[in-house]
Symmetry: C2
Subunit: 539 residues, 2 copies
C-alpha cells in the first residue's frame, strides 16, 4: 500500500473539491458571515502564506485566543496545514495560567479576538516568545493597542497567496495542535495532538454508530474551539462537508436556540450545564427544534432529568459521550444496540444515561482494587485507555509519569462497565467520597437529585467527618419559583428509595449558583471550600 500520510491539510482540500458550495455560517462581533468551503479554502491558503511572511515556520506554535467563528476555523487548518502547531488557549483561565501556557508552549504568534485583546495587553510584558499579534476583527481600522507588531487578520489575508499549497513534507505523527488542561493543583498541562490522531478521530466521528457526521448535517459546535478543538467537530464537519454554524463570541442560550431554529441545526455539541440553560430557553420561547437529530453531550455526566427533558419533552435525541483533553476527546458514545430497541422507556433512559461503549480504534481496561473489574455494571475501577488518539504524555511536564504509565493513560475516572460494554462514570478518583471505608459516588447522588423537577443543578461534595472519615453534603440550585416550596427534607425523601441509608447526604445546602470550571464543569474544589466555610460560620 502507498505510504501516504494522514494530514489535516488533506481534509480541507477534500472539502474544497467535493463540498465547494457548502457553507460555514459564522457569527462574529459585528455581523453574520456566510462563506463557502471554496472561500474558506482560499482564505486558509492566504493565511498560511501570510503567516509565513510574518515569520511562522514549520513546527512553530501559533496561539489562538478566540471564540467559535470562521476565522478560528481557518487557523485550525492553516497552522497544521503549513506544518505549524495550532495552540488553542482557554480564554477563561486566569492571567497567570495564560502567561504560563503561552510561554511554556513558546507561541510565536497569537491570533486574538478583539474583545480578548485587553486580556493579552495586560500580560504582554510577561510573554517571552511571541513575535507578532493578529487581531481577528471585522473592522477596517486596527484597534488602538499597545501590542506590537499588531496585524489585522483580513489585511494579512489580502497579502497572502490564494493558491498557497499545503505543506507536503509532513509526517503524520508530527504535532498539529495542542491544548492545555487545567490541573486540580498546579499549572495547566499541555496535550499535543498529531495529524494522525486528529484524522483518525475524525473518522471515528463520522461512523454511523457514533456521531455519524454527514454532508447533510448542519453542525453547531457550542463547546468552545479553545476546548479540545471543539471536540474535533470542526475537523470532521469540514472533511465530511457538513454545513457549520459557529455561534461566535459570548453567546447566550437565546442565541443558541435561535440559531437551531433559524439555520435548521441537525447536530450540536456541548457540556451539560450549557444544555440546562438551553433547555430553559427552549421551554420558555417558541422555537422550532425539529431539525435536530442529535445533541451531543459530554465533558461531565449528564443528569437523567436533562436527557429525559430533551428526549421526551422536546423530542430531541440526546447523545451522551465521554472523553477528555488527553483523548482528542471522543472515547465512548452512548447508543442502544439493535436488540435493545424494545426496552421500556425507563430502561432506555437508564441506558442512554450511561457514557456508552468504546468507539472503534481504541482499547480500554477498568482496573479496581482487585485487578480488572468484571463487566457487570457493578464493579468499579479506574478507566485506562490506549489508542492512536490518546496522548502519551504531557508536553514537557514532569507530571506525565503520574498518569501515563505501563502503556496506558490513567484517566482518573472511576467507572463501571455493563455487559454491553457501556461505561458509566461513577466519579473522579479524587471526588469519590470515602465513608466508613466504603465508596460513595457523588455523581449518582447528583443525578438522583437533578431528576427532581425543582432542582436546576446539584453537586455533592465531601466534608471531613471524625467518625466516618468523610460524609456527603448536597449543594443545590433550585429552579425559579421553587425556593419556598422545596426544602432539604423533601429532596432527601425524593432520593431516599434509591440509596443505602449511609449514602444519603448529611445536609442539603441551597445556592444561587454553583462555581464552575472554565469549561462549565462543577468546580468541586471551590465548592468544598464554600461548604466548609459555611459550616465554620454556622459554628
Amino acid at each position: 500500500m502507498m505510504q501516504t500520510p494522514l494530514t489535516i491539510g488533506s481534509m480541507l482540500e477534500h472539502a474544497e473539491k467535493f463540498f465547494a458550495k457548502k457553507e460555514v455560517i459564522s457569527q462574529t462581533h459585528d455581523k453574520l458571515h456566510r462563506l463557502t468551503y471554496a472561500e474558506i479554502g482560499e482564505r486558509t491558503r492566504r493565511l498560511m502564506s501570510a503567516l509565513g511572511q510574518i515569520g511562522v515556520q514549520k513546527g512553530d506554535r501559533v496561539g489562538t485566543l478566540a471564540w467559535n467563528h470562521h476565522r478560528h476555523l481557518e487557523i485550525y487548518f492553516a497552522a497544521p496545514g503549513m506544518g505549524a502547531v495550532l495552540h488553542t488557549i482557554n480564554i477563561r483561565l486566569t492571567p497567570e495560567h495564560i502567561i504560563y501556557i503561552i510561554n511554556h508552549a513558546e507561541d510565536q504568534v497569537l491570533l486574538i479576538d478583539e474583545d480578548i485583546l485587553p486580556l493579552i495587553e495586560k500580560v504582554r510584558d510577561k510573554l517571552q516568545t511571541v513575535k507578532a499579534f493578529v487581531v481577528m476583527t471585522d473592522q477596517d481600522e486596527l484597534p488602538a493597542s499597545p501590542l506590537t507588531p499588531l496585524y489585522s487578520y483580513e489585511k494579512l489575508l489580502q497579502s497572502g497567496d490564494p493558491e498557497q499549497p499545503f505543506e507536503s513534507d509532513i509526517d503524520e505523527n508530527d504535532p498539529a495542535g495542542m491544548c492545555y488542561t487545567s490541573a486540580t493543583t498546579g499549572k495547566p498541562k499541555g496535550v499535543v495532538y498529531s495529524h494522525r490522531g486528529i484524522v483518525l478521530h475524525s473518522y471515528a466521528l463520522g461512523l454511523a454508530d457514533t456521531a455519524a457526521i454527514s454532508e447533510s448535517d448542519v453542525s453547531m459546535p457550542v463547546v468552545p474551539q479553545f476546548h479540545v478543538n471543539a471536540w474535533g467537530t470542526p475537523f470532521a464537519c469540514t472533511w465530511f462537508g457538513s454545513t457549520q454554524v459557529m455561534p461566535g463570541p459570548r453567546f447566550t442560550p437565546k442565541r443558541l436556540a435561535e440559531f437551531i431554529d433559524r439555520f435548521k441545526v441537525t447536530i450540536t455539541a456541548g457540556v451539560p450545564t450549557i444544555w440546562l440553560g438551553v433547555l430553559r430557553e427552549l421551554e420558555q420561547g417558541d422555537y422550532d427544534t425539529s431539525s435536530l437529530r442529535a445533541v451531543l453531550c459530554g465533558g461531565s455526566a449528564a443528569p437523567k432529568g436533562l436527557i429525559k427533558a430533551f428526549e421526551q419533552k422536546l423530542g430531541v435525541p440526546f447523545a451522551h459521550a465521554y472523553g477528555a483533553t488527553e483523548t482528542t476527546p471522543l472515547v465512548t458514545y452512548s447508543r442502544l444496540k439493535s436488540y435493545q430497541q424494545d426496552l421500556s422507556e425507563e430502561d432506555r433512559l437508564k441506558e442512554r444515561a450511561k457514557q456508552g461503549a468504546l468507539v472503534p480504534g481504541l482499547e480500554m481496561k477498568v482496573v479496581g482494587a482487585d485487578g480488572e473489574a468484571a463487566w457487570n455494571g457493578e464493579e468499579m475501577g479506574e478507566l485506562l485507555l490506549r489508542g492512536p488518539w490518546i496522548a502519551s504524555e504531557y508536553y514537557e511536564d514532569d507530571r506525565t509519569a503520574n498518569v501515563f504509565h505501563d502503556g496506558w493513560f490513567h484517566t482518573g475516572d472511576v467507572v463501571t462497565v455493563d455487559e454491553e460494554g457501556n461505561i458509566q462514570i461513577v466519579d473522579r478518583t479524587s471526588d469519590l467520597i470515602k465513608s466508613g471505608g466504603e465508596w460513595i459516588s457523588s455523581v449518582e447522588i447528583e443525578n438522583a437529585l437533578m431528576a427532581h423537577e425543582a432542582v436546576f443543578e446539584a453537586s455533592v461534595v465531601a466534608i471531613p467527618d471524625a467518625e466516618w472519615q468523610e460524609r456527603p453534603i448536597a449543594c443545590v440550585v433550585l429552579r425559579e419559583g421553587y425556593a419556598d416550596k422545596v426544602g432539604k427534607e423533601k429532596l432527601l425523601d425524593f432520593i431516599r428509595p434509591q440509596f443505602a441509608k449511609w449514602w444519603l447526604p448529611d445536609d442539603v445546602l441551597f445556592f444561587d449558583d454553583i462555581p464552575k470550571t472554565s469549561v462549565g464543569k462543577f468546580l468541586k474544589r471551590e465548592l468544598r471550600k464554600q461548604v466548609k466555610a459555611h459550616y465554620k460560620v454556622q459554628k
Copy 2:
C-alpha cells in the same frame, strides 16, 4: 499521541468484547450455522494456535480456496491476527493461473472447501511451497484425498488454544492479505494489503456518507470472499458488530432472495450481473425485501435500468460504488448531496448511475490528453488514485512500472467528473472505441441499450474498420419471451435519440449469453473474438 498500530486483530477483539452476542449466520455445504462473535473470536484464537502448531510463522502466506462462510471469516482474522498473510485465491481462475499464484505467493498452507478439493488434487504436483492442506468441512471424517498432509479444520480447532493472543509485534504497514487480479494478458498480478490499509478502509465503510455499516445492519456479502476481501465488508462488519449472513457455496439468485427475506438483510454487496439475476428472482417470487436499506453495486458500471428497477419497482435503494483489486477496493460512493434532494426522479436516477464521489482519505486526479480534465461532466481522462489503501505495486512483478508511477495508481479507467466531484466511468482505456479519430464510449451505449425492457444484458465491442479505424458492434442478450419481438432496428431506434449518428453501433448481434470474467464482468476480449469470428463466417 500513543504509537499504537492499526491492526486487524484488534478489530475482532473489539467485536468479541462489545458485540459478543451478535451473530454470524453461515451456510456451508451441509447446514446453516449460527455463531456469536464470542464464538467466532474463540474459534479464531484456536485457529491461530493450531496453524502455529502445523508450522505457520509470521509473514507466511496462508492460501484459501473457499466460498463465503464463517470458516472463511475466521481465517480472515486468524492469518493477519498471527502476523501471517491471508491469501484469498480466486477459485474461478484456470488451473494454470491457480498454480502460478500459489507458487508466486509461496503459500505455506492451503485452506480448501471440500467441493474445491478436486481442483487442487489435480494440480498438487505443481505446487512448490505448500506444506499442508486443511479441508473446511462439516463432516467428521476426512474425505479420501491424495493431498497430504491433510487436516480437518474442525479437528485443528479442537487442538488449538481458545485464549491464544493476537500477535502483538505487528507494524501496521506489515502485509495482512493478498489477492491476485487477472490481467488482460499474461499471468495474474498480486496486490498486497497492509493492516493499516484494511483498518482505514474499514473506517471508510463505516462513515455515515458511504456504506454506513452499523451494529444494526444485517450484512450479506454476495461478492466472493476470494475477490478483494468481499470488498472489505467482512472486516468492517465484524469491527462494527453487524450481523453477517454468509451465503455459502454455489449460491443461486433464489438462495440470495430467500436469505434477504428470512434473515432481514439490510445491506448486501455484489457486481451488476448478480443483481440482474436476483432482480429476475425477486420479480418472479414472493419475497419480503423491506429490510434492505442498501444494495451495494460495484465491479463494473450498473446500467440505469437495473438501478431503476431496484429503486422504483422494488423500493430498494441502490448504491453505486467504484473500486478495484488495487484499491482495497472502495474509492467512490454514489450519494446525492443534501441540496440535490429536490431533483426530479429522472435527474436523481442520472446522478445515482454515476460512480459517485471520492471517499474521505483518498486523492484523485483525472488526466486527459491535454492535462487534468475539468470537472464539467464532459472532459474525459484516466483516473489516477493515491492514498493509504491504494496499492503501490504488484507483488514481485515487472508490470508494476506500467501502472504505478509518478506517485499515482493509473487505473486504466476513463472517467468524467461532474461539478459535484462525482465520477462516471466512460470506459476502460483499452475498451474505448476509436472511430474517425474520436472516442466512442462502449459503456454509454451499453447502458442505453440495457434501459430497453427487452434487453437483459448488452456489451459493445469494437471491430477493425478500414475507413474509420474501429466501429462499435452491440452484443445483446434478450429477456425471455422477447426473441421474436425485438430486432436490431427496434433497438437502434430506441437509442438513436441519445447519441451522435456516428456513435450508433453498425450492427446488433444476439447472444444466448455473454462471456464473463471469473468475477462476473463482461469479458470483452473473448467477446471481440466471437464477434470477429461471426463476421468471418458470414463472409
